[in-house]
Structures are given as structure tokens and as C-alpha cells.
Symmetry: D2
Subunit: 139 residues, 4 copies
């Protein structure tokens, strides 16, 4: 599991006085970057090498809102990894209280520069193996 | 069904040259506003009257990306409406080609100014009835 | 002068209950699109032809805030146009009351696909002439 | 001078492949938070005490773009502090190369919960003195 701390920014709040729900989707992206860094395959390098991994589905459940002044611990794990698609799950927790604020999942695929699906196993077997070893089944 | 046209803005795109996936979540919010306007109960007025309806869950499937220069037709319908929660579904279509780009769903509840759940039937029976009549079951 | 109506979105507000100040910078971009459309040279086409015009400076004065539920009339005019840089000014007005909310200016240049400065006069003299005729000096 | 490191997020980029210019305005806000923390008067606490400090003007010059994968060092200093308004200046530097990407300024005032101007000297003389001592004149 990868986790990192996100400090809530004022520009992330809305008139309800809490973080706008669309921003948690962006925080999922933030923690995926950290996950890929820790795995030694930063996303910026993947893109430079011609490998893109767009989000093809996302779901998110909002339990409690984060507010300006809060720090949120964002956790992720790779839950599935096949040759053409892979999935992460997420948990966002108020760092001070440990309260679970948000849970979610996302699904991704690999594309080349032209936007066509890529078989990672064929294009980059070493990267494929690395990813495959990082899968954590649901507890 | 409510539908409205959204012109893709440059600031909504990302380095992949397409609309960033988090923005479709924001477009869901845009079309909900239009839905509530058409139903004669603008959200700004609901909030002024002390009624809030946060998003408690969202899911989104990205089929094809929208790009800068595109106009997207965003459609929504209320699919469920109970006393404590209600759901919308969405379809986002490239206005020029009719291609379905994104589908999704969201779930909401009613809260008062203090953030506590509200029984709409008790608080505002007229609004409750109005909402209830707008439900469109899945085709 | 070009003007268009922007409806304030909930996701554009912040915890102060008003539009977050960064969004007015985005609205400047929105009205520039409309300006270029009306001039018959949509920005999407300019980019396809290999001509980019990034923002090189922006300034903005916030007089009164816009709120969710408001509609804002965003006005722009081209105030300077030289071979290497050009400027717009902006005025954002509450559509209901006519109150001036925000004023601002932006400065731009032309770049090619490689990010190098372009002499528009040489690259596209017809477009250069069109732009030059649209300049409105400060009143 | 206060400085902190911001990692460029993918959702901050646009179709030009660089950070969208509106985001630097948001980064100014991020570093102001850090400035206020270091000064021992976190903005969240100021708001809780009924003191708001909206942005009343901002200007920004974009010299070189930041890209996804970059880390940017954002520096700020308080340059003016009067009883009714105060100003910050900013410098954003590519952390790896030291190249200056963006410079800017912002102007702020103090408001109470009702949105009326506040004399900080009268409302909170201790905070006023603290702020006044933090002013760094332009070098």
C-alpha cells in the first residue's frame, strides 16, 4: 500500500465549506503518481517512453467531507493487473482523527502515443512483471 | 431527460491533449443545475431555503475523450428518488458525431444547514412530490 | 467588443461562499475563445495549423465577488496588437445588476509547435491583418 | 522569505503540454498558507476567529512553463503591510535547474464575516504587529 499526505487547499473548497467532490478524483491521481514513483517507474518517464495509462472508469463514495485546514492521508493499492487493464482502490483518511472520509476505485488501460491499446507484456515485459508483483488482493 | 450543451474549455484539457477525467464529474454538476432549473427549483434557491444536497457517491465510465474545440451534449435523468437519497444517471455525447463519450451515475442526499440528514417529505412535501414525479426508470 | 454570459458553477465557488479568484483567470480564456470565433479564426483551428498563443502575463482586480446562482457578462477587447505580442482587456459584470465585478488584462505572443516565437506577419499575413483591424484603443 | 516545493500534478497541465496558467495563481495561495503557518497564524485559524483576507488584485508574468514531472520552488515575501491592505510578491523557480518560471504579486485586505473591511490594528493589534514585522522591502 502506498500512502501520502495531502494538505487541503483553499481553492479545493466550495461554498458548502468543504472540499468539492471532484477534487478527490484528482487526489486519486496524485497518489497514483506516488505509487508509480515508489515502484521505480515514474509516470512522466512512462509517457516519455510512449506509454500512456488513461483512466477508463472511476467510482468514489463520499462518507465525510474534508475541510480547509485538514490534512488527508490518501492510500492506494493496485488490486488487479491484467495485460490490458488494471485497477487501484483508494482510501482517504483524516490524518488527525483517522476517520475514513472517502473510498474509491479506478480502472486504467495502456495506450501508445497514437491512442491505441498496448499489450504491456509484449511492449515492456520487465515493466509488466513489476506491476504484476505489486498487486494486493482485497483484504 | 434534461440535456444541455457544454463547450470544452482549454483549461479543461490536460497534457494528453484531451479533457481531464475529473472535469466530467464537474459537468455532471452543471447538468444537475439545468435539471433543477427546468423543474422550477433552482439549486441556489434550495440552498437559500436551508436545503443542501451533497454528492454521496459518483461513478463514471470514460469511453472516448472529448477534446478542445468539441461541444458535448450532457444528458441526465433522475433514476431513483426516496425520502433520504436520490440518484441521477448521465450520458455525455459528442454533439457533432453523436458518439457516446462518457456514462455515469451519482447519488445524493438532503442535508440541512447544520449538515444533518433531512426528510424532504416532512420538510418540504411539495418539493418532495415534484421530485418524485420526475423519476425516469432505466429504459 | 465581444461579450458572453457565464453562469457561475458550484465547483467554481470556495469556502468564502464566492467564486474562487483563480476562476476569473479561466473566464478570460473563455471569452477569448468567443472573441476568436467571432473573428472567424477559432483557436482550435489556429492550433491545428501550428500556431499557439500562450498567456505571457495576466493581471486582475477583484472589486466584488460573483456567487453561485449569478450570471456574469464577460467582456473583452483587443487593446494592442504587434507582430510579436498582443493584449486584451476584460470587464466582468453581474448580468442582473450591471455591477462591475472584475477588470483585467492579459498579454500573449505567438509560438510555433516547437515553442519558438513566430512572426505572424510572415507566417500568416491574412490573419495578421485581421487581428490588426480588431484592435480597440482604450476609450 | 518563505519557500516550499510544489510537485506538478497531471491535472494541472493543459493540451499545450504545460501547466495551465491559471494554476500558478492557485500556487500563490498555497505558498501564502505556508507563509502564515510559519508566522504562527494559520489562515484556517484566522477564518475561525472571523478574519478573512481575500485577494483584491493579482498579477503574474509567465516566463517559462512548468511541465508534468517538474518540481517547482515557490517563494513569497510580504512586501507591503498597511492597516487596510497588504501585498505579497512571488517567484516560482524550477527546482532542478533554478530557472525562474513565473513572477507575480498579489494584494489583499482584511474583512470580517459579514464581508466588511476590518482595521486589523483595532481588531487584533498583536496580529497586526506580527504582520508588520514580516515585511521585506524589495531588494
Amino acid at each position: 500500500m502506498t500512502s501520502y499526505l495531502h494538505r487541503v487547499q483553499y481553492y479545493e473548497t466550495d461554498a458548502m465549506g468543504v472540499v468539492h467532490h471532484s477534487n478527490y478524483i484528482r487526489w486519486m491521481e496524485e497518489v497514483r503518481e506516488v505509487f508509480l514513483d515508489e515502484a521505480g517507474m515514474p509516470y512522466a518517464e512512462m509517457e516519455t517512453s510512449g506509454l500512456y495509462s488513461p483512466v477508463i472508469a472511476v467510482s468514489c463514495r463520499y462518507r465525510f467531507p474534508a475541510r480547509f485546514g485538514d490534512t488527508v492521508r490518501i492510500e492506494t493499492a493496485l488490486t488487479e493487473f491484467g495485460n490490458v487493464r488494471f485497477c487501484y482502490r483508494y482510501r482517504m483518511v483524516d490524518a488527525a482523527s483517522g476517520k475514513v472520509l472517502v473510498t474509491g476505485e479506478s480502472e486504467h488501460c495502456f495506450l501508445n502515443r497514437e491512442g491505441r491499446p498496448v499489450s504491456l507484456k509484449r511492449k515492456n515485459p520487465a515493466l509488466y512483471d513489476k506491476f504484476a508483483q505489486l498487486v494486493e488482493k482485497e483484504p
